[in-house]
């Protein structure tokens, strides 16, 4: 080996050693700077989405390896990238599972419970709201306590409203089953279009 080659090998070795040292140093500083609040929020996103995915399907599906793997994958993606399309995909996965499971369940033993749907709604909204709060926070961002308090307050309000809505719906399904199907569908369509219009208007109006 000539001196030039030896020098080249030496320089390459030194460069690799420097890069390794820098990576290790970077990892150590990241571990030292990591903040608890964003990590816990991301954990909340992952856990709620995973539990929702398990709750959405019949137990025999939920126990299957394929479903657990897919649910974990979606939940992890949503927790790691809360700012992108991952939470939407995870929620869509839960909804599709819920619809397919409902079809399967109806074939076996009737309608799924309204309260399961309410729990699912609560879990999905918790994941959505948490992902919205977390989307711009990095794992090292020191978060003010007031932000967490506001998030908890809002979540409590919306979840309580959802439970109240579920209770109302339960009352309706118990006492107003005699409504004609055409009237129910028309009222539903009007309500849905109203809500969509209001939201779309708020979305497109210059804030």
């Amino acid at each position: 080996m000539s001196d030039v080659q030896r020098g080249l090998v030496q320089a390459l070795r030194e460069g690799a050693r420097e890069r390794l040292k820098a990576a290790r140093g970077g990892g150590i500083t990241w571990a030292r700077r990591i903040a608890p609040a964003p990590v816990l929020l991301r954990l909340t996103v992952a856990l709620t989405l995973f539990v929702a995915a398990e709750l959405a399907v019949p137990p025999e599906w939920g126990a299957s390896g394929f479903h657990i793997a897919a649910a974990s994958l979606f939940a992890l993606a949503a927790a790691l990238r809360p700012a992108g399309v991952a939470p939407l995909l995870a929620i869509a996965f839960v909804l599709v599972s819920w619809l397919l499971g409902g079809v399967l369940d109806r074939e076996s033993d009737g309608d799924p419970s309204l309260w399961t749907a309410a729990a699912l709604a609560c879990l999905l909204y918790t994941a959505h709201a948490t992902a919205a709060v977390t989307q711009r926070l990095r794992t090292t961002t020191a978060v003010d306590g007031e932000i967490i308090l506001t998030w908890v307050r809002h979540l409590g309000l919306v979840l309580a409203s959802t439970v109240a809505a579920a209770g109302t719906l339960a009352l309706f399904t118990a006492f107003f089953t005699g409504l004609t199907a055409g009237f129910a569908v028309a009222a539903g369509i009007v309500a849905a279009v109203t809500v969509i219009y209001l939201l779309a208007r708020s979305l497109h109006k210059n804030p």
Binding site: D3, A83, A118, H128, A131, R136, T150, S161, A165, A166
Partner: protein, 463 residues
Amino acid sequence: MTLAGDPALNLRTDNARPLRRAVAEPPVTWRRTPALTRAVVLVAVCLLLGVAFGRVDLVLIGAPFAIGTAVLLQRRPVKPPEARITAMDDESCAEGATAAASLVVVNPEPVAITTLVTAAADPWIALHTGKGDFAESLAPSSGRDMVVAGHARRWGGHHLGPVHVRSVACGGLLETTVQRLPGTTVWVLPVPDWFESAQSLPFAEGVTGVHRSRRGGDSGELAEVRLYQPGDRLRRIDWRTSMRSQDLYVNATLSERDTDVTLILDLQVEAGVSGGVMPIDGSQASPKYGSASIADLTVRAAGAVASHYALQGDRVSCVEFGARGRKMRPGAGRRHAAATLRWLASIDLPADPLPPSPEMMRRQLSGQRGLNVVFTPLLTDRALQLIASLARAGRPVLCVDTLPPGVAPPARTHWTPYADRLWRLGRENTVMELRDLGVAVEPWQGAASLDNVLAELNRRRYR
């Protein structure tokens, strides 16, 4: 070959940065986030599917999204928050201490918002945890004063920034575009090594000071006992000698005067790796230094010597023997010591410097009879020429060797250690030649490291 195809015309200019049009910073505006889009899409899909398939459960699943979005979007901000960054009051801090800048964010809207601040800084400023990357809540129609701070690891002018500020409102459904603040420069002053010298300096010919002069005057240092002359003070009469000799004798004393100390900083080459300093915690009084480069040793040693003599009352001036050739005016006292530290902090070694001229530097120093202290790693012939010419002119020259002890060339071939050894032998030879010329050469070792050579200079002066 046509003129357009001439390859010489396609050569890039010396400026390494390609020409680009200046991009104006876009104004900060509020915009929706993917979370808002997600909420709306989910509500629409759930409601439409629920109605289409007659599923109440889907309506129930979509309900919290509709309720939550409606609640959050009730009050929306219109005007974006204003952020500005300013340096702290004195814009300077000591090595190993905290460098900080003040960030003010004002929320003009009657809606509570969350502000996310992400700061970057020079490699020599290690941002504190929670002071460079944080999220703060801003109450409606209020402002908040935040601090971006980090540990200053090395002297010099360091840039704290850019700082990216982004605000989020309505629970993460709306956000502003990123506002980029260019940041601010924080001056980190070198913490000089502790230097204490009990030796007085040669050529003390100022007005009043602490060094023994060869001129007579009022002080405690006895020069001679001589006959009384008109004008002598009565309290100077030596009664014992007068009684013995029957003539009136007085004790004549030497005056104590200050002197000029000129610090010449050889900043032509840089070698060694600067390791910065560790943070000062309560347990230790002084900062813990990492490895030092030539510039580090030069700046810290010059800071120590300048602070010592300026606080003692001598006039201290500094001159760069390098590409920039800056000068610091002579002065004494605490303020001048602080100003010298600030001057030293702005020392910079250009990558491709013009070599300085020893002759020009020697002419700049002419007319001064004070002590010349040269801080040099003794690596260039020009520095040796300067020192030798000063010594030949009969000026007291003290040479502080600032080559870091562990510095060595990278081992590229198996000849490197031998070449290094030969070079070091040659350097020792040069140091001995300088000593023969009457230059005191001493490596910098902190407190009292120059006392021996100063005593040697004094002996030579008063011999």
